[in-house]
């Protein structure tokens, strides 16, 4: 397996961001649940914004994770 060009740095950064988001969510679980189920004002936007933030952070992490393992799409750099 070609070990060059593996995104270790990007994997670490996105991993830390993703893990931090999950830690925040569960560390402040009670406050999060109290506010995220409110129906007044802009509170209903919280689940949507949070889901998008997690998808960017954790989505990047999972993409780099497979790339680091050498699992890439057929036409992606590193397979041809």
């Amino acid at each position: 397996m070609d070990m060059q060009g593996r995104p270790y740095g990007k994997l670490a950064i996105s991993g830390v961001i993703s893990l931090s988001l999950y830690l925040l969510l569960f560390f402040y679980e009670d406050q999060v649940m109290a506010n995220y189920t409110r129906t007044d004002g802009f509170y209903p936007a919280l689940p949507v914004v949070t889901a998008l933030a997690f998808s960017f952070a954790h989505g990047s992490f999972t993409a780099y994770f497979w790339e680091m393992l050498g699992v890439r799409g057929r036409h992606e750099k590193g397979t041809n």
Partner: protein
């Protein structure tokens, strides 16, 4: 839909691990065929004590970010037709409204058991018919030795594409088709109706795009992710306005499903369209059996059958096992096909290199 009476569950480790795993497998299947997972996730959450409406809301809230990541990944592979996805999503939204209205009417007239019976019958019938059509096509390709060739457009789709209705013609570049909006509308509408009824619109949207509109399988399954994003986002906003989303559950499932969806999307670059049909047909038919098994339970609740409590429990458990089996079967076929595809790709690259020397 009010959240005043809703009690959100305490999370226990075994449940969290189970949701992560089901999320991963569901994501893998979604990345490959455009949808999947919801039919196991929602009942799985309910079996943990999560209220039905919260389970649906939380599933929606994991679905749209998952679909976004999957669509982005497959867009990079040139498989997503954004315009087709958005056109389908608009008519699917109308289908969701109508589907939800029908659901409310059934519930008002026949109660909870009647509503569940309606959902299960729709599930079993639609999946048995559509899954049967997809399986027949896959078997035909296998029998005629064309499983590893590029797919051809169905006869129905050829006719649909040949119909010229001035003022309604739409050109979809990535899907490489030109069809009248009068054909895309009913396919999108049916997708939405099914999504509102059984929560997995893709089971009709993808075969509809492939067999009615003539969209290539890989483009159809990738474009379904755009539809899933739009509908998941709309659904999440609706449920969030009523305070029904359990963000913890949604993000736990998302944690597993994003690993899966990346892998499933990568998998599509190593397989022929035939494999997509095999996975779709297998999952749909096993789920149809699962839903068929649960029908006598609701018939008993309505007083139309007289099964014992033990028998009802057995049917419920067997039905759930079939759901999990459907997802696992799909995942095993996908991983197997990916490994074979990757190996063949490496072999052909090695041959090319040897020939150049």
């Amino acid at each position: 839909m009010e959240n005043a009476a809703i009690a959100f569950v305490d999370l226990e480790l075994p449940n969290v691990v189970f949701l992560l795993l089901v999320g991963f497998v569901g994501g893998l299947v979604s990345g490959f065929i455009g949808s999947g997972g919801a039919f196991v996730l929602t009942p799985a959450m309910m079996s943990m004590g999560v209220a039905g409406v919260v389970a649906v809301a939380s599933n929606m809230c994991h679905k749209f970010p998952k679909a976004l990541v999957g669509a982005f990944k497959r867009y990079k592979y040139g498989q997503v037709d954004v315009k087709l996805g958005l056109v389908m999503a608009v008519s699917a939204s109308v289908g969701v409204w109508v589907g939800a209205d029908i659901q409310h009417a059934v519930k008002a007239n026949f109660g909870e058991a009647g509503s569940s019976l309606y959902v299960s019958v729709a599930f079993a019938l639609v999946l048995a018919i559509v899954g049967g059509v997809v399986l027949r096509d896959a078997l035909r390709l296998h029998r005629t030795g064309r499983a590893h060739e590029d797919e051809e457009t169905s006869r129905l789709a050829k006719w649909v594409q040949s119909v010229e209705i001035p003022g309604t013609m739409l050109r979809f570049k990535t899907a490489d088709i030109r069809v009248s909006a009068l054909f895309t509308l009913p396919v999108g509408f049916a997708t939405g109706m099914l999504a509102a009824t059984i929560a997995v619109g893709g089971f009709i949207g993808v075969p509809g795009m492939i067999y009615v509109l003539g969209v290539p399988s890989l483009v159809g399954t990738a474009t379904e992710l755009v539809i899933a994003f739009v509908m998941g986002l709309g659904g999440t906003v609706t449920y969030a306005l009523h305070g029904l989303v359990d963000i913890r559950l949604a993000m736990i499932i998302l944690a597993g499903s994003l690993f899966g969806i990346q892998l499933g999307a990568i998998g599509t670059t190593y397989v022929k369209p035939y494999m997509v049909k095999v996975v779709m047909a297998s999952i749909m038919l096993i789920v149809a059996v699962s839903r068929g098994l649960i029908i006598p339970v609701y018939l008993t609740q309505l007083g139309w059958l007289g099964l014992s409590a033990k028998m009802l429990e057995f049917l419920r458990d067997t039905s759930f096992m079939f759901m999990i089996a459907a997802l696992l079967t799909g995942a095993i076929i996908i991983v197997g096909a990916m490994i074979r595809g990757h190996r063949d790709h490496k072999l052909s690259l090695a041959k090319e290199k040897a020939a150049m020397r």
